[in-house]
């Protein structure tokens, strides 16, 4: 059996999602973004929505998300993705519209846009990457940074009396009438990835069915920002992030 | 022909709506119109005024410092606008609540006892229409037919049953207005 025969279509057991292109990713080794990108690409393709999907990219590490998925994209100002998604969906009710946002984008500078888009029940999906740190700007404190966790702007650890508490924004969003699905996922194991994809699929279906806003939070690693190896980062996430941000469905109606 | 008016009084006296009816009447008459209100918190109980300009030609400034006609419905407005009537122009005031009467001799001054009459005749809501009647008697800017057409256009349909009452009030105002020597 030569190589051509081995890679013939009928022998394929796994391949890169069709919507992911060959553009080299800028994400650090061990980062969760790449896996979540892949899941989104698979869900869009499997739902046959490739020609109807408009993604809204954030400011943050995922600012270049538009370089990796071959769909139409709109790059938002920092935190404004839910406002942009609101207009895109309302002006094009038949389209699939999702935002992809980090913790600083969604839960600090864009808190108002996030809450109000969800409260209006905009028929969009918000994909939320929570790695408790600002990756792109060099590892500063995020609204979701844990108590005592060290970052460039809290070098002695987050001090809640100074900086306030880690913001459990998904719990907050679950209180809003306009949201239909709020779930917290991770992509550190094969089982978690499978579960995360299911959650994304459901969220995308909700948006197309006009059921309201869905938020899929991915508790994520930032090996570079946390100054760890990818393996250590996964371990640290399980031990430190999950107790505060437990995985599971917060709301499904 | 061009008429430059100021209508001034307390918020709630129907100052702006009286100006609006005049403006709609001008619209029906085919004239150029500018209606420019004082706006903001004074609408809610403070002083309110509106400038109305009716003209056969394109209107320049909506903001004026002198007027052909000043319609004065309270004392603060009299203090402010008596001096702004053009020499030879007209000042109309309702004596209700006026403590110091106009003093200028180079203008024509008219009194219209509209508030007392409206109260007495149980027609308080048409107070501003009585005043409008007085204004139209002195300055026939628009025909009565077009006033009624303007009134109809400016009132929501559910209030059209009030049209005859308003017409009566306008006619009443025409009777009431009298010149002060």
């Amino acid at each position: 059996m030569n190589m051509q025969e081995i890679i013939s279509p009928e022998n394929v057991v796994y391949q890169k999602p069709r919507l992911m292109n060959d553009h080299p990713m800028h994400y650090c080794p061990g980062c969760s973004h790449g896996v979540v990108h892949k899941l989104i690409a698979e869900v869009i393709d499997e739902m046959g929505l490739a020609e109807q999907t408009i993604g809204i990219a954030p400011v943050g590490c995922a600012v270049f998300a538009y370089n990796y998925l071959d769909i139409d994209w709109i790059e938002a100002a920092h935190g404004r993705a839910p406002a942009i998604a609101t207009a895109v969906k309302r002006l094009n009710p038949g389209k699939m519209v999702f935002t992809y946002q980090g913790d600083g984008d969604l839960a600090a500078i864009g808190t108002a846009e996030t809450i109000h888009a969800c409260n209006r029940g905009e028929n969009v999906v918000i994909v939320f990457i929570n790695n408790a740190i600002y990756g792109m700007t060099g590892g500063q404190m995020a609204p979701t940074t844990l108590d005592g966790m060290k970052t460039a702007t809290c070098p002695y650890g987050r001090n809640v009396s100074l900086n306030g508490y880690p913001l459990k924004i998904s719990d907050l969003l679950a209180q809003l009438e306009g949201t239909c699905l709020i779930t917290r996922e991770a992509v550190h194991t094969a089982a978690a990835i499978r579960r995360g994809k299911k959650a994304l699929r459901k969220a995308f279906e909700n948006a197309m069915a006009g059921k309201g806003s869905s938020v899929v939070e991915f508790v994520s690693t930032c090996a570079s920002g946390w100054k760890m190896t990818p393996e250590q980062a996964n371990q640290w996430m399980v031990e430190n992030m999950f107790p505060l941000y437990p995985l599971g469905t917060l709301k499904d109606k | 022909m061009q008429y430059e008016l100021i209508i001034a009084g307390f918020g709630g006296q129907g100052v702006l709506s009286m100006g609006k009816i005049l403006a709609y009447s001008g619209l029906m008459e085919g004239k150029e119109i500018t209606w420019f209100p004082s706006y903001g918190p004074e609408q809610r109980g403070g002083t309110a005024n509106v400038t109305v300009i009716l003209s056969d030609e394109r209107i320049s400034s909506p903001v004026l410092n002198e007027y052909d006609i000043a319609v004065i419905l309270n004392q603060p407005s009299l203090e402010k606008f008596e001096k702004a009537v053009k020499p030879g122009g007209i000042l109309i005031y309702d004596p209700y609540g006026i403590t110091r009467k106009p003093t200028r001799k180079d203008i024509r001054v008219f009194e219209i006892d509209a508030m007392n009459t409206a109260n007495r005749e149980g027609n308080v809501k048409a107070f501003n229409m009585i005043v409008l009647g007085g204004v139209l008697k002195l300055a026939p800017m628009v025909s009565m037919e077009n006033v009624m057409a303007g009134l109809k256009k400016s009132l929501p349909e559910r209030h059209h049953k009030l049209l005859p009452m308003n017409e009566q009030a306008i006619l009443r105002g025409m009777e009431l207005i009298k010149e002060i020597e």
Partner: protein, 359 residues
């Protein structure tokens, strides 16, 4: 519905004109003295007739980003606000300029700085024509002087912004927004279909067909060499606009010894001043820029040999006067008269300022 004559406030005229233009969406946040724009739209319920989307946003910041989003899919979308709210929108306007997105923004100016007053002002001239947001960009700026022009400039603003893929602003104030005048509304135009938009705005993010590459709407470019090229392209576009889209109006300028230069409400007041001055035997004329950017520099420059003096009348501390001085290359005396903080000058006080120009 055809060419209907109505008596409307300037703010109301903008709302009606937007519906009739076939606008796809309006996103706004209430602020005096322009709230009638959204109130009128909500009353008219255009989503029931033309399908136009009208939404009250959670903030001016959200509203301008909704406009950014709508524009990114090639739709004709707009927002409106007054000075403090327009300050909040500057980020979005800069992003629109950077991503080369069309869209219409209305500023019904009030006195500032800060929360200021709700009374009329023209103090946002610098903010509008000199930048406002960050970066080297220009904002097509229209200055209506009547309720009719409020309506007309909706169509003109959308047309220009789509012609050049650049945001446009209607810069007006509480006088024009709050006053009622006769206005002829245009006929109802249909909203464009998705096919129309895909044909006319092939860059729009409306979903990627298999036949083309992804459309990405962004102002981001980390490679400075490319970013410089982007900027050079923007500047070339601005030069074209400056060469092709200047609009102004003159009133009794042909034989004028003295010229008043004013825009919007100040121009209306100044027109009266010209009439009053002429009654006194003074040959005065009015030059009214309709586009504040592009500024009618050439046309004003042509006046410099003919007049003895120019008075710039503004509802601010003297902003456009700088552009007038540049236009006439200081070859003729240029004076300024204005009132501040929401006070509107009367024709009489402007006349006195004009008389004091005489040598």
């Amino acid at each position: 519905m055809a060419n209907e004559i109505k008596l409307l406030k300037g703010n109301e005229a903008i709302a009606h004109a937007a519906i009739r233009y076939g606008a796809d969406g309006y996103f706004g946040y209430p602020i005096t003295p322009q709230s009638e724009i959204m109130e009128t739209l909500m009353e008219e319920q255009p989503w029931e007739t033309t399908g136009m989307v009208v939404l009250q946003a959670e903030s001016e910041v959200a509203a301008i980003n909704m406009v950014y989003g709508g524009a990114a899919c090639g739709k004709r979308v707009m927002t409106s606000s007054s000075s403090p709210g327009i300050s909040l929108k500057q980020e979005g306007i800069s992003y629109m300029a950077g991503a080369e997105l069309p869209g219409l923004i209305v500023n019904v100016m009030r006195g500032g700085p800060g929360l200021g007053t709700i009374q009329p002002s023209q103090a946002d001239y610098f903010q509008t024509v000199k930048g406002g947001g960050h970066g080297d960009y220009r904002l097509i700026t229209l200055a209506p002087a009547s309720v009719q022009e409020m309506a007309d400039h909706v169509a003109l603003g959308f047309d220009l912004s789509f012609k050049y893929n650049n945001p446009a602003m209607i810069l007006t104030d509480g006088v024009i927004g709050q006053m009622m005048e006769k206005v002829v509304l245009p006929e109802q135009r249909p909203r464009r279909t998705e096919d129309d938009i895909r044909r006319e705005q092939p860059w729009a993010a409306l979903g990627k067909p298999a036949s083309r590459k992804p459309n990405v709407i962004t102002s981001l470019e980390l490679d400075s060499a490319i970013m410089e090229q982007n900027n050079i392209r923007f500047q070339a576009k601005y030069k074209t606009i400056e060469a092709s889209e200047v609009r102004y109006e003159t009133f009794k300028c042909a034989d004028a010894d003295y010229l008043i230069v004013a825009f919007g409400s100040a121009a209306r007041i100044s027109q009266k001043v010209v009439e009053l001055a002429r009654k006194q035997g003074i040959k005065a004329g009015l030059f009214r820029p309709i586009t504040l950017w592009p500024f009618p520099t050439k046309a004003l420059n042509a006046c410099k040999e003919k007049v003895k003096g120019i008075l710039v009348v503004e509802l601010n501390a003297g902003q456009m006067v700088e552009d007038v001085k540049l236009a006439v290359e200081c070859k003729v005396p240029v004076a300024y008269y204005g009132r501040l903080g929401g006070i509107v000058p009367t024709p009489q006080e402007v006349l006195e300022a004009l008389l004091s120009l005489q040598v």
